[in-house]
């Protein structure tokens, strides 16, 4: 069902947990559907200096949470914003089609975090 990469990120998730310091969080998903993801970012200048997450969900949800931290860390907000569901799935060597829709929330979570960060900065 899952690729080796998915299993690896699920079994050994990177950067899990709420970071001690963060500037914004993006919350996506819905407990009723079984998948909820919080993406935390710490921004330095225009770059994502640190990123962490808390996820309740299936292996796809957890492994995509883990993967996005690897894809986004060190990127500018503009670069990070452009990460798509497909980028994450590709980086994991693919996800079961059914999981593409429902559990691949990390890109949305990151976008929301960036959005929230900008709102906060603008204020």
């Amino acid at each position: 069902m899952y690729t080796q990469k998915v299993i690896d990120h699920f079994m050994n998730p990177r950067n899990k947990g709420k970071p001690r310091e963060y500037d914004a969080v993006g919350k996506v998903g819905n407990p009723i559907c079984g998948d909820v993801m919080y993406i935390y970012i710490k921004v330095n200048g225009n770059r994502i200096e640190n990123i962490g997450w808390e996820t309740m969900g299936c292996a796809a949800a957890i492994s995509t949470s883990s993967m996005i931290t690897e894809l986004a860390r060190g990127k500018t907000l503009e670069e990070a914003e452009k990460i798509t569901k497909k980028d994450i799935a590709d980086a994991l060597d693919g996800l079961p089609p059914i999981k593409m829709h429902c559990s691949n929330l990390a890109a949305d979570g990151l976008k929301k975090a960036i959005e929230n960060y900008r709102k906060k900065v603008e204020k």
Partner: protein
């Protein structure tokens, strides 16, 4: 590997496999053939029929071999509906049936039948008064599972039998999970039909049976060459049928010793797992399959739990949406009143004869760790209210 998913399927018992083996390459006759190879196959099938019938206190002529539990349930429900559509178009079942009952009923609803889905209480039991008041003049069939496959709750079939017998309706029970785990007696339960599946009782996959009481009229699901008294055509799966028969025999013989042992093991698991905070038992505390434990762990999702347990060598299952083809959480857990977010975090452990004390100890060591690990990752620690 510690297999605790026996309600999903079981390994074929070594003795059962040995019993089957000659029927592949040597005694391979078609039971309809006149020649000796065919007659030998026929005899083997009839012997299996006797074994199966004995376990449920039926007559061998009342056993119709099928390809498994799903077919048996479809056959019973559609068979009666097609045959009796002029007598009435009302069917009663419950909200916690297996998908093969529910989806058959839904299909029949689209074809003009009316179906009442009985509620269950928080433990998964139907209310007999409810059943009684749902029975109508035009009710042709009541179909209620003996022991639920997810939460293990066991209905009082004798009471249900008594109630249904006062109506015109036939009574069918899905005994796929209960047979060889609990006593099953078609006479005491006053059943008209009963479904069994071989692969749940250490027999081979792809075979099962429908018991049909003498006198009950139903249309075949599989028309053809007139096998199984004309009610289930298709060249008989001889190796499968003899394996199924032997598995029934062994399962029932060993039940009196096996079940108390497994129940004790299950109770130990139950007592200890329930010590984990924000955890509860699903299903009835006493009226449940001796091999079944079903827990809900708040704040985590079941697929992850099952996969992490798998990585530690423990095989189990969950009612989480992610585990199902429909992407909906278990309708059984919802029917007993769980919120969807609670249903996602369920774990079903179902024991079998090979499970030992050591297995339970290992599980009890691993499971709390895994739950804790997943909870650490989860955004929820107290309740789901924090979510915006």
């Amino acid at each position: 590997m510690i297999y605790m998913d026996h309600s999903a399927t079981t390994p074929v018992d070594k003795r059962v496999l040995d019993f089957m083996l000659p029927y592949f390459g040597e005694k391979y006759g078609n039971a309809s053939s006149l020649h000796s190879l065919g007659q030998e196959a026929k005899k083997a099938i009839e012997e299996a029929r006797v074994k199966v019938a004995k376990v449920i206190h039926a007559d061998p002529s009342e056993i119709y071999f099928t390809s498994g539990g799903t077919e048996s349930n479809n056959f019973a429900i559609k068979g009666v509906s097609f045959a009796d559509k002029d007598k009435g178009k009302h069917i009663i079942t419950t909200k916690i049936e297996h998908d093969c009952v529910l989806n058959t009923c839904k299909w029949l609803e689209k074809r003009g039948f009316e179906v009442t889905y009985l509620d269950v209480d928080k433990h998964g039991l139907i209310d007999i008064g409810d059943l009684e008041s749902s029975l109508r003049e035009d009710t042709i069939l009541v179909s209620i599972t003996h022991a639920n496959n997810e939460i293990g709750t066991v209905q009082d079939m004798e009471e249900i039998g008594k109630t249904v017998k006062e109506s015109n309706a036939y009574l069918h029970t899905d005994a796929v999970q209960s047979v060889t785990k609990l006593p099953v007696d078609v006479k005491k339960m006053r059943l008209d039909m009963l479904s069994i599946s071989s692969h749940k009782i250490f027999g081979p996959k792809g075979v099962g049976c429908l018991h049909i009481r003498k006198g009950v009229k139903l249309d075949p699901l599989a028309h053809g060459g007139g096998h199984e008294g004309g009610l289930r055509s298709g060249t008989e799966n001889v190796s499968g049928i003899v394996g199924f028969g032997e598995a029934m025999k062994i399962g029932e013989e060993e039940r009196p010793k096996a079940m108390p042992r497994l129940q004790k093991l299950r109770d130990k698991i139950m007592d200890n797992v329930l010590k984990i905070d924000n955890t509860w038992l699903n299903g009835h505390p006493q009226k449940r399959l001796p091999i079944n434990a079903n827990f809900s762990f708040k704040f985590i999702e079941g697929e992850s739990l099952v996969l992490l347990l798998d990585a530690k060598g423990i095989e189990a299952s969950t009612g989480s949406a992610c585990s199902s083809k429909s992407l909906k959480p278990s309708h059984v857990l919802l029917a007993i009143g769980l919120k969807p977010e609670e249903a996602h975090g369920s774990l079903r452990l179902t024991l079998g004869k090979d499970n030992t004390e050591k297995d339970a100890d290992y599980l009890l060591e691993v499971l709390p760790e895994v739950v804790s690990e997943l909870r650490k990752m989860s955004p929820f620690k107290k309740d789901y209210g924090e979510f915006e």
